[in-house]
Symmetry: D3
Subunit: 170 residues, 6 copies
């Protein structure tokens, strides 16, 4: 296993055409189907960081800002944003393509966390993620705040010890 | 549309048997499949509050604490925890049943938010959710803090105005 | 394995939202999809009686009284009605929920029979089912008549020996 | 619509290879999947009698005598056995092919009933089914007894009026 | 394994009803779904020649001449056209049935090639295919030309050595 | 509609993780599933050329050189290679990623042809495809030979008029 991997090396892209069996009763892509697609693509990014079996540990934040219709072309782009011991936070962006102009509009974002495991399900230490671009560095920093918040909500960290997060409220 | 609905009236239960096509390469239920199941069951709870078409607006927090194997019986129980104008926060609990004793162990929790829409996709005001039990009341209160946090993260609320949330850090 | 199990302990409930890929060319839930859902839910009830692997042995009677449309919420409720050596008869009720009032209307019933098997496919003796309510007791009695009829049709019982069933025609 | 159709003209054959996503936790074809396959193939036979949209009305009798494993080739053969006003009884035979010798062994039978409907769901009178072979004639006669039994169980016929069926017990 | 098998013995027939989840955004059967159906049915024919595990080696030619709509009844009929050492060419014909007259119109043809393999994936010599009818004999001869063309395109045969094919251009 | 589009602008990439329900009885990705994936991705490339609804017209050549196992990461990359009036030839490359090194090995190629249609299914003239790289230019030239061969096989062109193709045999 490599010691360090760049965010770019973990990038995974997938393109879906929204088919009738993936729509809800309004004829739009079902939220749960998109959650499933993002889960699989994010898992591929996490795998590209650690080259081991990965399992979903949590979904931290997903927002659906725009409905996606039948027949639309959806592109999902994922990258690992930061790694912590055996866990990896993966950032996912979802774009819909305008049928006429071909322009891609971002319509969703999500953050999933994966854990690398061995064949017995035990956790494995993963390589360090190296951010390179400004956006990657910003997400790398925000990942720490999200992790602190998640540990507070899980009651495994005291709010006063979450210095990064606490700064937001000062 | 009724003006008030109790949390109990929105309860939806579903039972799944984990089948081969729902497992990952380790033989466990895939995260994305469970996300899809929780999405559909949560949507049923939201529908039972407002009796209108509902669409997934966000997934706020899901944690996968325990892997679920092929052939296991999974029970998903969802209830609306609070409503805000046109949005509804739904709390989901996932249980796995011990094959021998039949005991049900909680292995996942999630919080999804739905919005009620009309046939043109415009938002609709939904009834007020009335919590009755202690657990329902606790979730009702926490829902406000989660909403404030979500608005801050979306940059639609200033941290200093999120009084409920800020109290956590004082 | 317990010696006796009440009907209530075998109750399994599942809730489905009818999605586009489950409908026929008229836009209604396909009979075969509902048969599959009832099979899985009934298998869960049978499993809750015996806590072993169960396989479908027969479908004795299913009637489809009312078509179920796209987007409807379907609740399936199953209970073991009686056990015989290694086989278990499971009663299934299907309800559709009125979108506006939330009232649940029964639209289907079915009776499936399962057999408990070991890892080699050999049959296993199952616990006795104990009916408690009036409806459970009525189904418990009728199950014997259905079993006699099924044995006659399979030519493993002579009509004159089916005393319970014969009484119907006297 | 033709006035009379022979059983042979309604024959429908389909061949399936049992794939991993169609098996249960023992690696055998799930009962519910086979029920779905038989439903669709039987519907095609019913359609070939009446050339109209048909919907499943009931499943009268299905027995699973032999488990069917992953990778096995399953042939389903269906024929209408008799028609009554707007309903059609369809007989289904399921064969599994020996991998080495190619010999086909019958492992299941089922009887489904369909109703022909117009675009509003109203029932339509269907052509008369004409049995030709001895087996077809035997099933044609038995179909009447099954219909009487089904009407008795639905409490729409008194046992003493079911002359065909009553004869069995005299 | 038998030394020779007639084309007729390898015939496999399957019947599909086009369901909503199999259609594209125009409401017609998706090309990829039909490719999948033809692959499975052709594999069954290849299996009936050699009685061993077969894997798809290539798809040589498929043309979609007519779109197939939702609710149409599709019949696929496949037969091995010729065998070469461990490979088998399978010819597939697709018919759509007129809803009113029941007449079957051919709307697609395809040619797939399969290879027989053992449990380690090694190739196995297959029986010789014996054509009987005129159509079978014509396809048997054309199969050799197609194989030569395929070897030329794969640069494993020089055009001047493909005597059968070369004759076309003289 | 633009008059000319570069091959690069039509590029579509998708990434799949091979899941249990997509494998055959040897645990490898089924040929028919890959055919379906390539069909959808190729259709997206064709759509990116013409920005209209496209339907599969033919599959000209697909070869499966290497089996792809459960859990492997498959990347499909497609580009339009040439357009002819209303039809577009799309070239598809399939790569499998080594789990340890991350190296991508090409394991399949395919050529599909699509036709652009209007809402009534009538054909539409599509923009001209402009190849830029050497590989794109080579495929652009070969596309004409493939089209001539396909017209000869369909008996819509005489061999002696297929000058590009005939040159191969001189």
């Amino acid at each position: 296993m490599k010691g360090k991997v760049t965010a770019k090396e973990t990038c995974a892209i997938t393109t879906h055409l929204v088919l009738p069996h993936e729509t809800n009763t309004l004829g739009n892509l079902m939220g749960g189907v998109l959650l499933n697609w993002m889960d699989i693509n994010s898992a591929i990014s996490a795998h590209r960081l650690c080259r081991r079996v990965v399992v979903t540990a949590s979904v931290n934040n997903v927002s659906f800002n725009k409905s996606i219709g039948l027949g639309e072309i959806v592109t999902i782009k994922t990258k690992v944003s930061r790694s912590f011991n055996s866990s990896m936070e993966v950032f996912s962006e979802v774009y819909v393509e305008d049928h006429v102009t071909g322009e891609k509009l971002k319509c969703n974002e999500s953050i999933y966390t994966f854990v690398a495991v061995d064949q017995n399900g035990g956790t494995i230490t993963v390589p360090e993620l190296v951010p390179e671009t400004d956006v990657e560095k910003e997400r790398f920093d925000a990942a720490l705040r999200r992790r602190q918040l998640s540990l507070i909500l899980a009651k495994r960290l005291k709010p006063e010890d979450a210095s990064e997060l606490k700064a937001l409220f000062d």
